[in-house]
């Protein structure tokens, strides 16, 4: 089985880090994973995307052509990175930044950044909230592996806040599942 993900937004939102964490979690689950990225020459700002493929088999081509799951954290990213989605794609949008997505697919609108601020006090944790939501909505990695991957990656002293962010993301997604 092969699952494809694209995380998109603005440079500085931590989406490449989120992609790395997701791929690391997949390796911890014993699967194969590949992570690639695309960004402009700017250090901050500009559109950015990270892509992850998780599979039970060897992965050669590392780019995602038709993402099964697309995370969108800015309106510009929605405009730029959603065109190759299929009607079956799951598009998770951050309600703070994204108004409309120019393709028809399964859209789940979540208050990702607002939740990061209300739970952890900082928008900085939005990428981890998003990861929790992605994992809960797609079952791509185990919660144990994802938690370990997050804690392995984040700066010392921020472990508790990141755990909270991850749990909040999972809860957000479960709320959606219940509503549906």
């Amino acid at each position: 089985m092969k699952q494809t993900f694209r995380f998109s937004g603005t440079g500085g939102q931590g989406l490449i880090t989120a992609g790395i964490i997701l791929a690391e979690a997949a390796l911890l689950d014993g699967k194969m994973a590949i992570q690639s990225q695309s960004y402009g020459p700017e250090a901050r700002g500009g559109s950015s995307k990270a892509e992850v493929i998780i599979s039970d088999e060897a992965i050669h081509f590392g780019r995602v052509m038709h993402p099964e799951t697309l995370l969108v954290m800015s309106q510009e990213a929605a405009d730029k990175y959603s065109a190759d989605c299929t009607p079956d794609s799951l598009i998770i949008t951050d309600s703070l930044f994204v108004e409309n997505v120019p393709v028809s697919a399964h859209r789940v609108d979540l208050p990702i950044t607002r939740t990061a601020v209300s739970t952890c006090g900082k928008a900085l944790f939005a990428n981890i909230v998003a990861l929790g939501a992605v994992a809960a909505l797609t079952n791509c990695v185990s919660v144990e592996s994802l938690t370990k991957a997050v804690l392995d990656r984040v700066p010392k002293g921020t472990e508790d806040a990141n755990k909270k962010a991850l749990a909040a993301g999972i809860a957000l997604a479960k709320g959606v599942a219940k509503a549906a």
């Binding site: 994973a33 590949i34 992570q35 402009g40 992965i59 081509f61 590392g62 780019r63 052509m65």
Partner: protein, 383 residues
């Protein structure tokens, strides 16, 4: 059993270099190779090595040559704009036979080009970038584990043949992260010690072939062996000698020390080639598309395989000429307007059709796009 990691290609180069005994890095950071400088700056002090961020690309190359002369394995990394700047001193390393590893993580060029986008536009530059007739070894990895292995191999080749070895990467392989299994310790991995003179210092001639390999032993500076390093054409002593016969002798040895040993130097990989009627030739990051495209074509009954040159230079002439008597057509795919393609055409010599699938728009080709090109080549031939 080693440790399983998600690692970037550039970081795997760092680990490969450290594991092979590289203990000096001189360079100037440039996208998309920066993580190599960053990683070496972190790792070298941990193993007693030295990292030097130089004022520019030229000085970085010079410092690596200096370290190597002093008996320390040296490496630098760069991308196209910096690789251009290193060419003059790369020629010195060829002429004076100073082992070193130069990593070029290609980006779109010429000039500043597009720093974060993939390209394979430097293929011919790695062969002919510095002036004058010269011979170098160039190897190109396709995966993160291969970044580790080929960095080690580059160190080994440079020490064995006393020449610069260029590790030709691209943004795809440099920046992507995938699974790699690394040994817990590098202690037991070969470190490729350099051949040093066994004669007395007063009998040492720095450029004398003492054992028939055409590769003279190299004494580290400071070890009591005196020798002269020059970019001028020199004889066995290292001092300039420009007579026609000295020039020819020198040039012949610099060339044949590599061309006599092509079976050792040239590495290739064949994927699903056993019964293939057609071949795709692709290398580096571009080859990743080819594996999937070949699989997709096979599913449709098209007998196609992938021939992947791992050693780019010297050119795999014998292997590709041999391929042309086995298959009915070759498709060359590279992320430029056709550079390696020219050499393939030359080796095939009109025996079978050779077509180019060139991609030069900042993005790698998708397997679907390449499948269409394969179908065009085979005329939709089905088993």
């Amino acid at each position: 059993m080693g440790k399983v990691l998600l690692m970037q290609g550039n970081s795997a180069v760092v680990e490969g270099a450290i594991s092979a005994g590289v203990r000096f890095y001189g360079g100037y950071p440039i996208t998309p190779s920066t993580e190599i400088a960053e990683g070496m700056a972190k790792r070298l002090p941990e193993v007693g090595g030295k990292f030097m961020q130089t004022e520019d690309e030229l000085a970085g190359m010079g410092a690596v040559i200096g370290a190597s002369l002093a008996g320390v394995k040296g490496m630098t990394a760069t991308s196209g704009p910096g690789f251009s700047l290193k060419q003059e001193m790369l020629g010195l390393a060829c002429s004076a036979e100073i082992p070193c590893v130069v990593v070029d993580v290609q980006r779109v060029g010429p000039a500043t080009g597009q720093p974060t986008s993939p390209s394979q536009g430097d293929v011919m530059q790695t062969r002919w970038g510095t002036h004058g007739d010269h011979w170098v070894i160039v190897v190109s990895p396709t995966s993160v584990p291969e970044c580790f292995d080929l960095t080690r191999r580059a160190v080994e080749l440079s020490e064995t043949y006393r020449c610069p070895v260029i590790l030709l990467m691209d943004e795809i392989v440099g920046h992507m992260r995938e699974r790699i299994e690394l040994p817990e310790s590098y202690d037991d991995l070969p470190k490729f010690p350099r051949k040093v003179p066994s004669c007395a210092p007063e009998d040492y001639l720095a450029y004398r072939d003492v054992d028939g390999t055409k590769v003279p032993p190299m004494a580290p500076f400071g070890s009591g062996y005196r020798w002269h390093v020059s970019g001028l054409v020199h004889d066995e002593t290292g001092f300039p000698k420009g007579t026609p016969s000295a020039t020819r002798t020198s040039q012949d040895r610099l060339r044949t020390k590599l061309t006599d040993r092509l079976d050792d130097i040239i590495m290739t990989e064949s994927y699903r080639m056993e019964d293939a009627e057609y071949a795709v030739i692709s290398y580096g990051g571009a080859a990743r598309t080819a594996y999937d495209a070949v699989d997709a074509a096979r599913e449709q009954g098209i007998k196609v395989g992938l021939f992947r040159p791992v050693t780019i230079w010297p050119f795999a002439e014998k292997e590709i000429a041999g391929l042309s008597s086995k298959v009915k057509g070759i498709l060359v795919h590279e992320l430029n307007c056709g550079q390696y393609f020219l050499e393939v055409e030359r080796a095939v010599h009109g025996k079978i059709p050779v077509t180019l699938y060139a991609k030069y728009d900042n993005e790698s080709a998708s397997p679907e796009e390449m499948l269409e090109e394969i179908k065009k080549m085979t005329g939709g031939a089905q088993a």
